[in-house]
């Protein structure tokens, strides 16, 4: 058995960056406020500038396009830059660099140049920061050939996915949830821990219903499963871990057994990741489904101020209701 100890997601991410910086001289970090003693609003990079110096942990101006552009340029030249976009809502400013360049230089150059950058960003959903500091924008990137997108829900995955991302030959967006930074869990001790990109995991087995989820929503889905258990419904929870490429094999295998599916995420339901997953489940398992596939996410409004945020975002109640809807459908 691998030896583990309990650390937070923030510590797990920090360990991943530390391992990458220590083991590969081509890895460097760049972003706003990353250096000590501030180490950024997310404090994920704490101690790293002190340990590796300002050349490896580079503080940048507030220039999101230039942060990603510089990462792309260095990556084309063989470096493995890890760029931080402090809060996901700011990523629009760097969208051109990510979507038009990082994701496409391999293709448009026929493989002659590549841009295996890692972009770390934090979703502030649930912090009460309002309409421009709380959005879950992962669906934007699932639309882009050439990208990979991962969104860990626990410390072991956070460390393993971030390390896989840094050493992946393609550009990877790593989405972190600021509300999860303090969440603790078992993480293997030492170097070499990796979580493969593109592989989902069954977070809780069950036989009556499949809840497909990822990232911040995973904890809510597990709570919903517990509540459903009290009602006599045995729900399986799948943590996707990677949004692009989507591990539909695992999803379809599960829904093929349970015959019912709910997809839950903090992103808006409308045109959210759940739309793609639901469409694929419906297309491939239509004949055996015992109820309509349900999607549940944020309501289609901007995120309101702190007091009302929970009224529009994903909740355990919302997931339970969606599960009841698809369970109830059989009785009709």
């Amino acid at each position: 058995m691998t030896e583990t100890r309990v650390i937070s997601i923030r510590e797990a991410l920090n360990e991943a960056l530390d391992e990458a910086l220590r083991t590969d001289p081509t890895v460097f970090l760049l972003g706003e406020d990353l250096a000590d003693p501030a180490a950024g609003v997310n404090a994920v990079t704490r101690g790293l500038a002190t340990k590796y110096g300002a050349d490896r942990v580079m503080n940048t101006p507030i220039s999101e396009a230039a942060i990603i552009g510089a990462a792309v340029g260095a990556a084309i030249e063989g470096y493995k830059p890890v760029a931080e976009i402090m809060i996901m809502d700011f990523i629009g400013i760097a969208m051109d660099q990510i979507v038009n360049h990082a994701a496409k230089v391999r293709y448009m150059s026929g493989g002659r140049t590549t841009s295996p950058i890692t972009v770390r960003t934090a979703v502030f959903a649930g912090t009460g920061s309002g309409g421009t500091h709380s959005q879950s924008l992962e669906a934007w990137f699932m639309h882009v050939p050439g990208m990979k997108v991962v969104y860990p829900s626990n410390p072991a995955d956070a460390k393993g996915l971030l390390l896989s991302a840094i050493f992946d030959p393609d550009p990877v967006l790593v989405i972190e949830a600021s509300r999860l930074y303090g969440v603790k869990g078992e993480v293997p001790v030492g170097d070499g821990h990796r979580v493969p990109i593109g592989k989902a995991v069954v977070a809780k087995p069950g036989k009556d219903l499949t809840i497909v989820t990822y990232g911040q929503a995973t904890a809510l889905a597990l709570q919903a499963a517990e509540r459903l258990g009290e009602e006599g419904v045995d729900a399986e929870v799948i943590d996707l871990r990677t949004l692009l490429p989507l591990d539909m094999d695992t999803v379809l295998e599960s829904v093929g057994r349970t015959r019912r599916a709910v997809i839950a995420h903090t992103a808006t339901t409308v045109a959210g990741p759940g739309a793609e997953i639901a469409a694929q489940i419906s297309a491939k398992l239509f004949g055996i489904l015992d109820g309509p596939v349900q999607r549940v996410g944020a309501r289609f409004t901007p995120i309101p101020a702190r007091a009302s945020e929970s009224a529009v975002t994903l909740s355990v109640d919302g997931i339970v209701d969606a599960a009841r809807t698809t369970m109830g459908a059989m009785r009709v």
Binding site: A65, A66, Q97, G110
Partner: protein, 338 residues
């Protein structure tokens, strides 16, 4: 002030016959390429698109002369001249313009996305301004790896109004990186004259705002361009940081093949015709020991080289579906459900 005027008054250092000859060779190749493809498009022979740079030959030729083969170049959709000057083979350029399997990117890039790392061309972008921060990253990589390579990035006057440009030049100046920012100011951004989009007269003045040297150069004068670029490249290579060079030139054709450019006033066009480097540079060369026969020979060779390359390209196949779907991810990973 053009170098030819300067040099007759003895102010300009001479460039040496070999450099002058290579400048002319590069300029005539650029012109031949542009002219031939444009002609082919106009008469329906070539189904493709280019963003012509006829008129801007001197800037590109000088870049090609001053940069070392291993120096990096990042350019734009209007970059065919830059590609020629940096040594990208004509078949790879035309192959990509025509989207065939012999193109630099095996037909998957197109005119706007030609990359040839073997000759230092790392990126050609169709997004105005986007090459600027990427060049900064390429220059950062040179510093990190202890190389004295210099990165040059070309773009238009319009690009200097983008956030990417401002973010990029600021970062390069802050980090003192070995980049040369080369604005090919052809007096128009697409269809809009430069004075309608900037309150300043000289793009080079933008350098002051970020703390780097900025110079305005006669971009129709290859000698002046070589001198200005040499200074900037030497500065970058020796650790002196970035420079912004504004090369003032002109674009005789429309924004894209098919744009008849009704927005260019006849008077301006007539004035610019007199400054056309393809007309004026031979006068300088003739005054510096070259013969008309020699110059004509070089032009004819250039036209021939373009014809030869075009023939090869037209005989080449399009990329097949397997090729079209490869290089999306490494290792041929296909991430689709379609």
């Amino acid at each position: 002030m053009s170098a030819s005027e300067d040099s007759t008054s003895g102010k300009t250092p001479e460039l040496g016959t070999d450099v002058l000859r290579e400048l002319w060779r590069s300029m005539t190749r650029e012109e031949a390429l542009d002219t031939r493809i444009l002609k082919g498009i106009k008469r329906g022979e070539l189904a493709t698109v280019i963003w012509p740079s006829r008129g801007q030959e001197a800037v590109s030729a000088a870049i090609g002369q001053v940069l070392r083969p291993d120096d990096r170049l990042i350019t734009t959709y209007r970059g065919l001249h830059d590609h020629v000057a940096k040594g990208v083979p004509l078949t790879e350029i035309i192959g990509e313009v025509m989207g065939t399997a012999v193109g630099a990117s095996r037909g998957k890039g197109g005119t706007m996305h030609i990359a040839d790392p073997d000759h230092g061309v790392l990126l050609t972008t169709g997004i105005v301004g986007s090459g600027v921060p990427i060049a900064v990253g390429v220059a950062l990589a040179a510093v990190k790896s202890g190389s004295d390579r210099v990165t040059a990035v070309t773009f238009g006057d319009g690009a200097t109004n983008t956030g990417s440009f401002h973010e990029g030049v600021n970062l390069a100046a802050t980090w003192q990186l070995p980049v040369v920012f080369i604005c090919q100011n052809n007096l128009y951004a697409e269809m809009t004259p430069v004075e309608d989009t900037m309150a300043i007269e000289h793009v080079a003045d933008r350098a002051k705002g970020v703390g780097m040297p900025g110079v305005t150069v006669d971009g129709n004068d290859p000698v002046a361009m070589v001198l200005a670029l040499t200074e900037a490249v030497d500065r970058a290579r020796s650790g002196g940081g970035p420079t912004l060079i504004e090369a003032v030139t002109f674009r005789f054709e429309g924004h894209y093949a098919g744009d008849s450019a009704p927005y260019i006033p006849a008077q301006q066009l007539a004035h610019q015709r007199e400054l056309d480097p393809i007309i004026t540079f031979p006068r300088y060369l003739l005054a510096h020991g070259f013969t008309q026969v020699e110059l004509d020979e070089i032009s004819a060779e250039s036209v021939e080289a373009v014809e030869e390359a075009l023939k090869t390209v037209l005989a080449a196949p399009l990329p097949d579906m397997e090729e079209i779907r490869s290089d999306v991810y490494a290792d041929g990973l296909v991430v689709t459900h379609d």
